[in-house]
Amino acid sequence: MRFLLGRLMRSGFLLVGVSLLSFLLLQLAPGDFFDEMKLDPQISPQTIAGLRTQFGLDRSLPVRYGLWLQSAARGDFGYSFAYNSPVAPLLKTRVRNTALLAGVSTLIAWLLALVIGVWSAMRAGHWDDRLCTGVMSISLALPDVLVALALLLVATRTGVFPVGGMVSTDFADLTLWQKARDIGAHMMLPVLALVFGLVPTLVRHVRSSVAEALSAPWVRAARAHGIAPGRLLLRHVLPVAANPLISLFGVSLATLLSVSLLIEIIMSWPGLGPFFLEAIMARDVYVVIGTVLLSTVFLVAGNLIADGLLFAADPRIRRS
């Protein structure tokens, strides 16, 4: 319990630190939200000055940070200049879509990685293992952006998959089953791109940690005692190999989120990615800070879950 409490406290400090840093860094970026209005010859500088006052942009940085903390405490997380609305509800609708995409991709990627990794570890040294390692190395070297663009190209040329978005325009008229299929079809390309980016790294880790466990002397002893290979693998080898993989799970959740933002932009998935990019470009500062904080929460939560799992899985950690 104390272990988890300590982790939680540290995460709280991390969030405050991240918010403060985001504030300072955004302050350093030149220009503000209302600059673009200056390009419209029909809007006077007085109106722009009035708007800057209205949104509190003329106040000093500490005052603004204080006000933002207050608003964060209320659950609003600041006010978006562009949407003229509190940030939290804006994030809420989009984070669900991102979570859906990232969640499904993580699940599929891990399932694939476990199967391929364990198989490859058991075939270590054979030609098929070498082939598999080779393929994984090549796909590791391919940039995610390139993969996503290639998938898009295939989609437009063949017309098999939708080329972006999350649902079709006639979505409201579909039956429940058709709706699920529609979302599934739209998810196919972004999920493929994300899984493609994640699987090679995961496979390498799974393979090495299972291979390491397999080469331990006690495994040879167990084999000599005639324990069936399937039982040996599932009951004895996998639990031993699990530790590093559980830590990796936390990290993979966080990296997937950052890659997912990129893929979302390319594939026009209506999640946090396109929203975040637009907010940065427009200097909609509180939206940017809100999104950064949310990603930090994902990262922290991923690590907390991993810590919790480790705690449950490994008696040594429980004892310390």
């Binding site: 010859p41 006077s44 949407y83 003229n84 709706k179 209506p270």
Partner: protein, 573 residues
């Protein structure tokens, strides 16, 4: 949200248009009668941020609201002239100070509530309220004083101006009439600026436009449905609009929009780049769409010299460079060295027009056609430089009077590939004069910050455009105290004689009511600008749009909104 979408009941049957009653004072359109039904899907470059016409600042919001709202008088995108809309007619007093507008009778908002002069009064009260900071307020402030509005009777409204204002009827364009019954509580409570955001239920939003809000799905799309009470009918007495629904998809990049259009997921596309236009061309027949090149737009790309007097201390170099920039012969030499034809050919693949004035050929009413187009001549440019004391060293590098080499930078927006290409071409052109020019692409906001705030730049390539063709829409560019007087911002009095002269001419045209006389005055402004070259105008991109063949009455225009300006007349064949 996907969960809630999954269990949502399936869409209701399309809203039928209300039968026409004789009491309604409907406008009869001249289009070919179409047939009811169907939906058109268009892509927006970004999500609309609000549905509040009073506070909307972004283009997508305006694009959507333009279909949900209507104004008293409207500028026809094809004829470029103001014409009756919610007001059936207007009268101007001889002194040009009083505008009497007669409203159409028995019209209804999209929620069925009647519209009358009180709604008009309420709208202008809101727009003119200082506390609201509505961008429209600036347009409605004439001669330093806000327009005054009075109700004469239920169908007549009188607008009074403090001083005469040329073509004041154009001011009514895009002043969307608000429903008093839905917004006055919010206004009195001081929360109007926050009203009508994207989470407001559709039943709380109503306008006089052809469509009304049906559904907004964050990050994905916004669906409008037919306003059954719309105030236009075709000549066979069918109430417009024909379409059941108009769907706006949010697709953040032009390339992604092109993909969606090509795949048939979007029915129209606008603001196409020349690259994508040619890429789409080969699929037009097989995928059943048509592309339109409408010729030059109102946008003008230009090279801007930093002539500001307030330059940051750490940028001493710029002050030295300004000695060259302030020399009109130098600016002229640059202008003559720039190969505009190459810009049109290479940047716009021929789908653009070279410019010698910031009034583009698209603006037929106001372009000074007699303006000379100085041919490109490196020789003559060199003569001009020599005349001003510049010389060349043995390596051919240009030196100023003090013997310092002429080297400066061109700022462009990194996200705009076309302008970055222009900078590279100009760099090459000016090399032939011995100038060493560096192109510096910067993130858009950082670039704006340099141009508007810190003035820390030598030259920049930018573009301005106009929502309107009238010279008044460009007045803040020309007036020396204007907020868009980019080359020297924040002048309290004109820095040069020619700027003083332009100030006088612009003020004169502002109060001149006769078109011919105004044209003469504005021609003179264009001539002075062409001689003094505060902007070196480069080229205007053509308006490139596309639409599916099955869309009837599609008539794109060079005035915004290019494709949807007549959305009420569009139908599915």
């Amino acid at each position: 949200m996907y969960v809630s979408l999954l269990v949502a009941p399936s869409a209701a049957v399309a809203q039928r248009p209300q039968p026409i009653t004789p009491a309604e004072d409907l406008l009869i359109t001249g289009n070919d009668p179409g047939k009811y039904g169907g939906r058109v899907v268009v892509a927006l470059r970004a999500e609309p941020k609000t549905l509040n016409p009073v506070t909307a600042l972004d283009q997508p919001s305006r694009e959507v609201m333009g279909r949900m709202m209507a104004d008293l008088l409207h500028i026809n995108a094809l004829s470029q002239q103001a014409e009756p809309a919610l007001a059936k007619s207007w009268k101007v007093s001889k002194d040009g100070l009083r505008y009497t507008l007669t409203l159409r009778r028995n019209l209804r908002f999209s929620d069925g509530h009647a519209m009358n002069a009180d709604d008009v009064l309420f709208t202008f009260q809101v727009l003119l309220d200082e506390k609201i900071n509505s961008p429209q307020r600036d347009l409605l402030t004439i001669g330093g004083k806000p327009i005054s509005v009075q109700k004469v009777d239920d169908a007549t409204v009188l607008f009074e101006l403090a001083s005469p204002y040329a073509a004041a009827e154009r001011l009514f364009d895009s002043m969307e009439i608000l429903p008093r019954h839905l917004l006055q509580d919010a206004y009195h409570a001081g929360t109007l600026a926050r009203a009508w955001n994207l989470t407001t239920p559709p039943s709380q939003i109503a306008g006089m436009g052809p469509f009304r809000l049906k559904e907004y799905v964050p990050g994905q799309k916004l669906t409008l449905e037919r306003n059954p009470y719309y105030w236009k009918m075709d000549r066979s007495r069918q109430r417009l609009p024909y379409l059941d629904e108009l769907v706006f998809l949010f697709v953040s990049s032009e390339d992604a929009q092109v993909l969606r259009f090509e795949a048939g997921e979007a029915d129209m596309i606008q603001r196409l780049s020349a690259d994508n236009y040619s890429a789409l061309q080969k699929d037009a027949v097989s995928r059943h769409f048509r592309l339109f090149d409408l010729g030059p737009s109102l946008d003008y790309n230009f090279l801007l010299f930093n002539l500001n007097s307030a330059i940051p201390k750490e940028a001493a170099d710029i002050v030295r460079h300004q000695e060259w920039f302030r020399n009109v012969n130098f600016r002229q030499a640059v202008s003559e060295a720039v190969d505009r034809a190459a810009i049109v050919r290479l940047v716009f693949h021929g789908r653009g027009t070279a410019l010698w004035s910031s009034v583009t050929p698209a603006n037929k009413l106001w372009l000074d056609a007699s303006l000379p187009h100085a041919p490109r001549s490196i020789e003559h440019a060199k003569q001009l430089l020599r005349k001003s004391g510049f010389s060349w060293n043995a390596e051919g590098a240009l030196l100023d009077k003090s013997g310092a080499p002429v080297e400066f930078s061109i700022l462009t927006s990194a996200s705009n590939a076309q302008r970055s290409q222009m900078a590279t071409l100009i760099q090459d052109d000016l090399k032939q004069l011995g100038m060493k020019v560096q192109a510096v692409p910067l993130e858009f906001k950082s670039m704006l910050d340099r141009v508007f705030q810190t003035h820390n730049y030598d030259t920049a390539i930018m573009a301005l455009g106009g929502g309107d063709v009238d010279p008044n829409s460009q007045i803040n560019v020309w007036m020396s105290n204007g907020g868009s007087h980019l080359w020297n911002l924040g002048e309290t009095k004109p820095a040069t004689d020619w700027e003083a002269q332009i100030d006088t001419l612009m003020n004169q045209q502002l109060t001149t009511l006769d078109y011919k006389r105004r044209k003469q005055l504005y021609d003179r402004v264009q001539e002075i600008a062409a001689q003094q070259l505060p902007f070196i105008n480069l080229a205007s991109p053509n308006v490139l749009v596309g639409a599916r063949e099955r869309i009837g009455n599609f008539q794109p225009a060079i005035l915004d909104h290019y494709t949807l300006w007549n959305v009420e007349q569009l139908y599915i064949k």
